[in-house]
Symmetry: C2
């Protein structure tokens, strides 16, 4: 048991998860829970069911009553074990949240999510302070999108990167053997506003034959004409093309090439749901170049594939959960835990803290030095950045060396 | 070295792979190659590049010149290592094939593929016989679709089943945590004419909370009205629904609900390429029930995911390759190797033989006893059939037991 003479605050804590799940989001909750077990200051450990909705509706579960095996099993169970939500909160909602916290003597609130969740956490922290209710609020970062600022990268990204590198490598291997009939393969990955995930598919490529041959990210608007010219050039090189596209790929006017038009495709924050960029690219290619194109889209499975998780990502996700609790018990509030990459020849990350409000209001796009001049692939600097995050890669696939037998007949004209 | 006094035929052999690749198709080629190494009768071991096209164009590689490590690496490399094709052969093509075989003293031809490939192999065997050219032709079964008759199941199926059970389980886990905003999840899997692959996603389900809750297969035409009634009923039960659909799902008129209309979407055999059934089901649900629905589609990645391969499938794929060569050397010709499930408490398969022509002209649909009366799920008999084929499943995912804390405030009306 740790005992701090300064800034001691005793009471119950609430953990909640929000937004799109990740493969490792439960590692963070496991880290937070197992760290919370260490402190006398933390009495009840409660989980809010379905994110902030669980607080609003007082749907709080007793984590101490769970089987320790369940807590241990969190690290190998993808997707938010406490449930999640996407809800834009009103002023009354915030008042209600504080009422719930007061009535249950909640002195610690740990919110595991992305930008929107950090904004929510920030507002709760400020309202508590204004109301004179002493509590500590900490953000635990989570997003496959890797678009949170003030952190080297986000827990969840390494695993989705590893999944998609595998998923694209397999699609490319299929394309390689069947290119005489399946000529272009498009792999659509998540990433509404940023291209981090699409960029990471480049980790699948070790030789020119491997895919992806082209990568399109929202940071680089691409006209249909440019796309077709790129594809035609790559097609002439090897008779087939493997392409990775972000779901949020945009045209030359900055419009998503395949924004859904259906009104129900809008989440609680008013964000439009995309999805279909891959199919749209296929249609462009079929119409424009008269060659076959098909798309693969792992969709939500890409952010829940625990058998393809990055070990580095799992460990870091656990660590940020731990550090959120440790820092709060030590007196910090209003921060999100960040990952800080250390200098040195070996990859290593420690943690830091960034104010919730700063994180809430920033988006980290792929920087220019990670995108090639043509705007259709990544740079070696991106590979250097991303490679350590996927925690080791798979066994190599073989290719025949192909020593051809001498031909004996006239060339076939069929 | 095995030496048979009867029916000895000495010469070169050609191996070829055809049609859509699988995760384990190279296991079959590895089995055939390593078995061929054992016989004096087999001199040159050649691989035809891109299926029968490699024979037509005399693009034959010398397998004996390959590094043994490459041969061993075949078992963990997905997708046809020799390349594949989809080509409908003309009469002149068949004459050319025989000319190539004669000129290279090819006495053994092993064709690794599905129905169409067995038809091709059968015609080659018959033409050789008619022409008085002594050669032995054997089929090595391969199809993720599991629709070849005369065999208990097809190499390739167990692995795609295992991939899709994992892929759907992860999608369902995501849906479970985010159902307050992502209500319906549709997973589209391969299967143009038969529902074996969609059916196998039921292996992901161990409790009522797990998906899939509904499965639609081409064997059971389903109207939009029936679909919406099913989805609404399941939605009322748990506030969310996970659905698996075959790409070849058909409406009440027997028409694919999402046949592609683009003319380039037709393969060499004139088969239309489907894909989009999942998106179509989502559109139906969004329009008809006004609830959110999103689809995942692994596409070609589902048949190349070697990290999710079934060990049973890998071993059986190797075995059918071995047995094709062994049977041919022993004097058989005109057969496809089949898998024969032995009776007994433990799962075990041996091999048998079926005439190529019989296999070529038959399609094995999901039998009635494997589909429920409602036509929207599988029966326990199907699970008994399919479970041993995926070669063991993954570690269990945890769920919190959820002991709720007593509420202290009036119910929230927000």
């Amino acid at each position: 048991m740790t005992d701090y003479s300064m800034g001691k605050l005793r009471g119950n804590c609430v953990l909640a998860q929000s937004g799109g799940p990740t493969t490792v989001i439960n590692c963070s909750i496991a880290g937070a829970i197992q760290e919370a077990f260490r402190y006398q200051e933390i009495e009840g450990i409660y989980g809010a069911i379905n994110g902030i909705l669980g607080v609003l509706y007082e749907e709080l579960i007793d984590i101490r009553a769970e089987d320790p095996k369940t807590i241990n099993g969190l690290v190998s169970t993808p997707s938010s074990a406490l449930g999640s939500c996407r809800r834009k909160l009103s002023e009354e909602d915030y008042d209600r949240i504080l009422d719930v916290f007061r009535s249950h003597n909640i002195r610690y609130f740990f919110y595991n999510g992305g930008n929107d969740s950090m904004d929510t956490a920030d507002k709760i922290a400020k309202l508590a302070k204004k109301s004179g209710y002493e509590m500590r609020v900490m953000g635990i970062p989570k997003t496959i999108d890797n678009d949170l600022a003030f952190t080297d990268h986000c827990p969840g990204f390494g695993s989705v990167a590893r999944h998609n590198a595998i998923f694209l490598r397999d699609a490319a291997k299929d394309n390689e053997s069947l290119y005489t009939s399946d000529t272009v393969k498009v792999v659509e990955v998540m990433g509404r506003d940023t291209g981090w995930i699409a960029a990471a598919t480049a980790l699948a490529r070790e030789s020119d034959e491997d895919g992806p041959h082209l990568i399109y990210v929202p940071e680089r608007p691409t006209s249909k004409e440019k796309l077709l010219a790129d594809v035609e050039r790559e097609y002439k090189k090897r008779g087939r093309v493997v392409i990775a596209v972000s779901e949020g790929m945009v045209d030359e006017h900055g419009e998503p090439i395949s924004a859904s038009t259906s009104s129900v495709d809008v989440d609680g924050f008013g964000h439009k749901q995309y999805g279909g960029a891959g199919d749209t690219v296929c249609e462009f290619i079929k119409e424009g170049l008269k060659i076959k194109a098909r798309s693969n889209k792992a969709g939500t499975s890409q952010r829940a594939a625990v058998d393809r998780a990055s070990v580095v990502d799992q460990q870091e996700a656990y660590m940020v959960g731990q550090m959120a609790v440790r820092n709060a018990v030590q007196g910090q509030t209003g921060y999100m835990v960040t990952l800080v990459r250390e200098d040195g020849p070996e990859y290593r990350c420690t943690t830091g803290l960034a104010p919730l409000a700063d994180v809430a209001n920033a988006v980290k796009y792929l920087p220019d030095e990670f995108i090639n001049n043509e705007g259709n692939y990544v740079t070696p600097a991106f590979i250097d950045y991303a490679k350590p995050l996927v925690g080791g890669f798979l066994h190599p696939y073989i290719r025949f060396e192909k020593n051809y037998i001498e031909k004996k007949l006239p060339t076939f004209k069929g």
